[in-house]
C-alpha cells in the first residue's frame, strides 16, 4: 500500500471507529459554523478592510482616529 493511501486510511478508519469523538466533532463543526458563518459574517467585520480599499487609505483613517483628540 502506498504512503498516501496509508495516511488516508489512518484518518478514514480513525473517524469511522470513533465513539465519544463523533459527538465532539459535532460540537466542533457546530461551533465553527457559529463562529465563521454567524459571528464573523454578521457581527465581526474587519472594519478597516471593509471600509477602505487600500492600505494607504487605512493608514490615513487610523491617523485621523489617533489624532482626533478622542
Amino acid at each position: 500500500m502506498n504512503w498516501w493511501r496509508r495516511v488516508v486510511d489512518l484518518y478514514v478508519d480513525g473517524f469511522r471507529n470513533m465513539t465519544v469523538g463523533r459527538k465532539l466533532w459535532g460540537i466542533v463543526i457546530l461551533k465553527l459554523a457559529i463562529m465563521f458563518l454567524v459571528f464573523k459574517l454578521f457581527f465581526f467585520p474587519d472594519l478597516l478592510k471593509e471600509n477602505y480599499d487600500n492600505d494607504e487609505d487605512r493608514a490615513r483613517a487610523v491617523a485621523r482616529e489617533l489624532t482626533s483628540g478622542r
Binding site: 489512518l10 465519544v20 459571528f39 457581527f43 465581526f44 489617533l66 489624532t67 478622542r70
Partner: protein, 513 residues
C-alpha cells in the same frame, strides 16, 4: 464621550470574557498533553498494558477539552478587527508575525500528530506513536509561545520603530521581540502553570474515581505521574513568577504598585501578605506584612526602593540612602505624549501638502517623543492608574491559591506513596474534587493581574484602550457580548457534562482490566 467610555468598557469586557473562557481550556490542553506523553513513555519502556489503558482514559478527557476549546481563541482575532481596529492596524506585523507562526505551527503539528496520536494505535510503530504524542505536547506549548510573545510585546514594546507613513509600528528586531525577558518569563510561567492545572485536574478526577472503588490502582498511578509533574510545575511556576515580578518592577512599575496597593513606596518596602484595600484613603486595613519582602521580590535587594502609585505619578524615586531622584512625572509624560501627537498631526498636514522637509522634521519630533505617545490621550495623571482593588485582590487570590496547590501536591504525593489507605476515602474525594475549581481560579486570577494591572494600556505607554477601540457603537458590542456569553456558557456546559459522563463511565468499569 460617554459613548466612547461605554464602547471601551464593553469592548474590554467582551475581550476579557473571551480570553477568560479561552484560558479555561488552554492550560488543561498544555498540561494534560505532557501527562499523557509521560504515561505513554512509561508504557513504551515497561510495555505494561495498564499504562496504555490509563493513558487512553486521560486521552479521552484531553480530546473532549481540546475539541470544545479549539478555536475559541480565534474569536479574539475577530474582536481585534472589529472592536480594536485602530490597535490592530497600529501594531502591524509585530502582532501579526507571531500569530501567523502560531497558526501555521498549530495547523501542521496539531492536524498531523493529533491524528496519529488518536487514530494511529496499531497503524504506526510504538516509537512513532510515542514521538507523535510528544510532538503534540511540544506543539501545544510552542503554539502558546507565539501568543505569549505577542502579549509580552504589548506589555513591553521592544524591537520596533513607528512609521508615520504607514501609521504602524514596524518590527526592526524580531529577536528582541521573541526573546525579551517579559516574553520568556511569561511563556514559562504560563506553560508550567498549565502543568500544575492539569496535574491538579488529574489528581482531583483520580480521587473521585478512586472513591468509587474500581480503579484504585489506576488512580494511584495517575496521581504518581501527575503529582510529580505538578510539583515540578509549581516550583517552576513560582520561580518564573519571581522572574515576572522582577520584569514587572522594571518595565511596568505602576502594575506592581497596583498589585501591592502601594501608594507611597519606601526603601526596604514590605510585602502585603494579607489585607483589605481602601483605595479612597489609600490604606490597607488588617494588613499582615512581610518586612522588606516587596523590595526583595521586585529588585532582589532588601534595601531597594519600590515606587508607589503616587511616587510614579510624581516622578520620584529614592536611593538606598533615602535621597530623592527625579524621574519623568506623569504630568510631564502627558505633555511629551501631546507633543508626539501634535507632531503626528503636523506630519499628516505636511504629507497632504507634499512638503517632504516638514514631514521629516515632524517625524523627528515624533521619534523624540514617541516613548510616551499614549500619555497624550490622558487629561490627568490619574487616568494612567489601573483598577487597584481588582489587581490587588486578584494577586492575593493567585498567591494564596498557589500556596494551597503546592501543599496539595506535596500531600497527594505523600498519601499515594506513604499512606495509600487514605487515598480512597470520602475526605480525599472531597479535597480532590474541590481543588479542581481552585486551580482554575488561581490560573485565571494570574491573568487578571497581568491584564487588569496593565490598564489603561493596550500597548504599554504607547496606546491606551480609548485610542485603540474602533468607532463602533456601544450597543453593537453589547449584543455580541451577550451572544458570546450564551455560546460560551453552552460550550462550558457541554465540556463539563461530557467530561462528567466519561469520568462516571470510567469509574463504573475497571479501566486497566
Amino acid at each position: 464621550m460617554e459613548d466612547l467610555i461605554q464602547v471601551v468598557d464593553w469592548s474590554r469586557m467582551q475581550f476579557a470574557l473571551t480570553a477568560i473562557v479561552h484560558w479555561l481550556f488552554v492550560p488543561l490542553t498544555i498540561g494534560l498533553s505532557l501527562i499523557i506523553a509521560v504515561m505513554e513513555t512509561i508504557y513504551y519502556r515497561t510495555r505494561n498494558e495498564k499504562w496504555l489503558k490509563t493513558e487512553k482514559f486521560w486521552m479521552t478527557l484531553f480530546a473532549i477539552n481540546f475539541a470544545i476549546g479549539v478555536a475559541t481563541g480565534i474569536i479574539l482575532e475577530f474582536e481585534f478587527g472589529t472592536n480594536w481596529s485602530n490597535y490592530s492596524w497600529f501594531v502591524g506585523d509585530i502582532f501579526g508575525a507571531p500569530l501567523a507562526i502560531e497558526g501555521l505551527l498549530a495547523f501542521f503539528m496539531e492536524a498531523t500528530f493529533f491524528a496519529v496520536m488518536f487514530f494511529g494505535w496499531k497503524k504506526v510503530s510504538a516509537g512513532f506513536h510515542l514521538a507523535s504524542t510528544w510532538l503534540v505536547a511540544i506543539g501545544v506549548s510552542l503554539s502558546a509561545l507565539w501568543i505569549l510573545v505577542a502579549n509580552a510585546w504589548m506589555q513591553y514594546p521592544v524591537g520596533m520603530e513607528f512609521d508615520p507613513a504607514q501609521m504602524r509600528n514596524v518590527m526592526s528586531d524580531f529577536l528582541a521581540v521573541a526573546t525579551s525577558g517579559v516574553a520568556i518569563n511569561k511563556f514559562f510561567h504560563a506553560v508550567t502553570s498549565g502543568w500544575v492545572l492539569a496535574s491538579v485536574f488529574v489528581i482531583g478526577v483520580s480521587c473521585i474515581i478512586a472513591a468509587r472503588g474500581k480503579n484504585l490502582a489506576m488512580a494511584k498511578d495517575s496521581v504518581k505521574v501527575s503529582g510529580w509533574i505538578g510539583l515540578i510545575g509549581i516550583i517552576l511556576t513560582m520561580w518564573t513568577g519571581d522572574g515576572s515580578a522582577v520584569e514587572v518592577a522594571r518595565v511596568q512599575p505602576m502594575k506592581l504598585a497596583a498589585m501591592e496597593g502601594l501608594y507611597r513606596g519606601e526603601v526596604g518596602q514590605e510585602l502585603v501578605g494579607f489585607g483589605l484595600i481602601d483605595t479612597e484613603n489609600k490604606e490597607i486595613d488588617l494588613k499582615i506584612g512581610i518586612p522588606k519582602g516587596l523590595s526583595l521580590l521586585a529588585n532582589h535587594d532588601m534595601d531597594s526602593f519600590v515606587p508607589g502609585i503616587d511616587d510614579l505619578i510624581d516622578g520620584i524615586a529614592l536611593t538606598p540612602e533615602g535621597d530623592t531622584i527625579n524621574t519623568v512625572s506623569y504630568a510631564e509624560r502627558i505633555e511629551i505624549g501631546k507633543a508626539a501627537q501634535q507632531a503626528l498631526r503636523d506630519y499628516e498636514a505636511a504629507r497632504q501638502a507634499g512638503d517632504k522637509g516638514a514631514m521629516e522634521a515632524a517625524n523627528a519630533r515624533i521619534r523624540e517623543n514617541y516613548r510616551f505617545f499614549g500619555y497624550g490621550y490622558f487629561n490627568s495623571p490619574q487616568d494612567a492608574v489601573p483598577p487597584v482593588a481588582l489587581t490587588f485582590y486578584s494577586f492575593r487570590i493567585m498567591v494564596m491559591a498557589g500556596g494551597y496547590l503546592l501543599l496539595l501536591l506535596i500531600v497527594a504525593l505523600f498519601v499515594v506513596y506513604k499512606k495509600p489507605d487514605w487515598f480512597d476515602t470520602r475526605l480525599a474525594r472531597w479535597i480532590g474534587a474541590l481543588s479542581i475549581p481552585v486551580v482554575w481560579i488561581c490560573s485565571e486570577a494570574g491573568w487578571i493581574v497581568a491584564e487588569v494591572g496593565r490598564q489603561p494600556w493596550t500597548i504599554q505607554d504607547i496606546l491606551p484602550v480609548q485610542a485603540a477601540v474602533s468607532a463602533v457603537t456601544a450597543s453593537s458590542v453589547q449584543i455580541t457580548f451577550w451572544l458570546f456569553a450564551v455560546v460560551f456558557a453552552a460550550l462550558i456546559a457541554a465540556e463539563i457534562s461530557i467530561m462528567v459522563k466519561e469520568v462516571k463511565k470510567g469509574s463504573e468499569r475497571e479501566i486497566t482490566e
